[in-house]
Symmetry: C2
């Protein structure tokens, strides 16, 4: 049997649509995996996601809209129903590819279908209690650095991004850019500090995930001249934003798990100045597609060195490592491995 006829369920979160209109990192990746599998000829792909999702696969939905944009929903009610219903249908699939964290694992001993979980990040060390209760399941990490020492991983599969909405531009813009989600982890305050020290204009974009942080650490610096804030950006707006970029600042304060923003920026030919924490050195090629730094002062120095970076090298780096097709071809190998291991179990 051609492996591409196997029935695969992709379980996405239901915080946002698949693909998200603006923010929604895990939904973006779940969508990219789904569409990538279809594009590579997989015949029986089912996406479990919100009903407003758009996919070329079969869509099954028990939640109408992403709960982040529909405050009438209790998020836990939506996630419980979404996961319960998918698990009740487990018998229809050869493999469940879980992109929705630990809660689906709690059904593992009730279903016979193998489950692969891509761990998109440990939001808190406490969630390891559930993962470690299921060491006999299958896991993929999204970077070598974002791994728990006790879990058995089949592979690291880097996130693949959709290049179609990321226009490569040979000529760089003159703005510093910082986008994603506005949260202390993402170091918007450090980007502001670096911009002020360098004297360059900085455009901030993204959803406000931590309102206190925005109100206290970000908003007071917005002056509509040197420091601008444009709110969340959809893929088209993001492309336009990157077109104005001299460099993207990604001065994360905690270890990055993967860092879609870095790959997207490089794809547009934009160098990234990233804090050397977690996966950043796996995504950015230091001195080739950006600079890894350890402080705001390092970042200010790096800003001056941006002309050394060739935009075409940035794009090539992404094309070689972080496309959807590369990601999906790696997942194909992981799926194949799981099917082999499952066959061995039966013998």
């Amino acid at each position: 049997m051609d492996i591409r006829e196997k029935k695969i369920a992709i379980l996405a979160p239901v915080a946002w649509r698949c693909p998200p209109r603006e923010y929604g990192a895990w939904e973006t990746v779940a969508s990219n995996i789904t569409e990538g599998l279809v594009a590579r000829g997989w015949k029986n792909i089912t996406l479990f996601a919100t009903r407003e999702s758009v996919t070329k696969a079969r869509l099954i939905s028990f939640v109408e809209k992403g709960y982040e944009l529909d405050k009438s929903q209790i998020p836990l009610v939506s996630t419980c129903l979404h996961i319960q219903k998918a698990m009740e249908m487990a018998g229809q699939f050869d493999l469940i590819h879980n992109n929705f964290d630990y809660q689906p694992l709690t059904y593992l001993r009730f279903i016979k279908t193998p489950m692969l979980t891509t761990i998109h990040g440990f939001s808190d060390p406490d969630i390891l209690r559930v993962y470690r209760d299921h060491k006999d399941s299958y896991y993929v990490s999204i970077s070598d650095s974002d791994r728990d020492s006790e879990l058995p991983y089949l592979a690291t599969v880097y996130n693949g991004i959709d290049l179609s909405n990321l226009t490569f531009r040979e000529n760089r813009g003159d703005k510093l850019v910082c986008y994603g989600r506005i949260h202390p982890d993402k170091g918007y305050h450090l980007a502001i500090e670096a911009a002020k020290k360098s004297g360059r204009e900085l455009i901030l974009a993204g959803i406000i995930q931590d309102q206190d942080y925005f109100d206290n650490e970000v908003s007071p610096h917005i002056d509509a001249k040197q420091i601008k804030f444009i709110g969340p950006v959809n893929p088209l707006q993001r492309d336009e934003l990157l077109g104005q970029a001299y460099a993207v600042l990604h001065l994360n304060t905690i270890p990055e798990r993967f860092g879609l923003v870095m790959a997207e920026s490089n794809a547009a030919g934009v160098p990234v100045i990233a804090m050397d924490l977690g996966s950043c050195r796996e995504v950015i090629a230091d001195k080739k597609t950006g600079f890894l730094v350890n402080s705001v002062d390092d970042a200010v120095e790096a800003i001056d060195k941006i002309p050394q970076i060739d935009p075409a090298a940035c794009r090539r780096h992404v094309e070689k490592n972080f496309t959807i097709d590369i990601m999906v071809s790696k997942y194909e190998k992981v799926y194949e491995k799981i099917f082999q291991l499952e066959e061995q179990k039966k013998q």
Copy 2:
């Protein structure tokens, strides 16, 4: 087979210990059901609760401490593991008596053991999405007023309280008392208003569940003279508090689901002035064990009429309706009914 040899799993929440040291309404009831069944001769009762819980039944725990008092836990991680593990053991029981809301229902189609859910309250209309997905399960309401029209209920079983820590006192005290959890739903602000209008002293007690509410609507009125606040009370402190009470004010702003505070107060011989919303008229016998009111001004009038209430009548009312033994004997009938219905299904 004697029904009291059936294997029953009581699933408690894990926010607090069973029984709680201070606050924890659902854990209190789950504990009372468990101990009441043991007291009535049930041989095979298992309580799923936090490891620090105290019970004469078999205790099974996957969570060390209540997550409300151990902030290193992510509550959802603890609840997921607690429920998952209990559900994985479902085959060992003849019946699961779920006192932990909707999340256990999401495993119903994976287990063969029948589940009875006591619905301790609908925290939000949205949780009905899960209940209504499981209309073929078994439900008990804790008052006739707290019912969803679409769910099939086997019975209303009023909460039973432990009278051993509630000393009956013939002579009333001179303080107004308001205790439980400090939340707008519980109308502490209305109790303060009524106390001020009546000129009587008011003692407030309870956990602070809504800090903004406490800071803005309660705290500014605390003067250590007319309006005192003593924090959370354990059962012994509660007994002492009720010993000082002239009346308990229970001026809830939303329909009460049951109202343990009202039954406890009456058990101590203390009349209750309660807003006539939800279950209050099922727990309080108007003009016999307290007064049902519709406004703060009504409450102020009722305060003057408290001497008409006989403390002994309050106690008798509880002894006749809200003891653990009465509650458990009603649950025995519900369990019996479920076993009959399950037998019929098999035939």
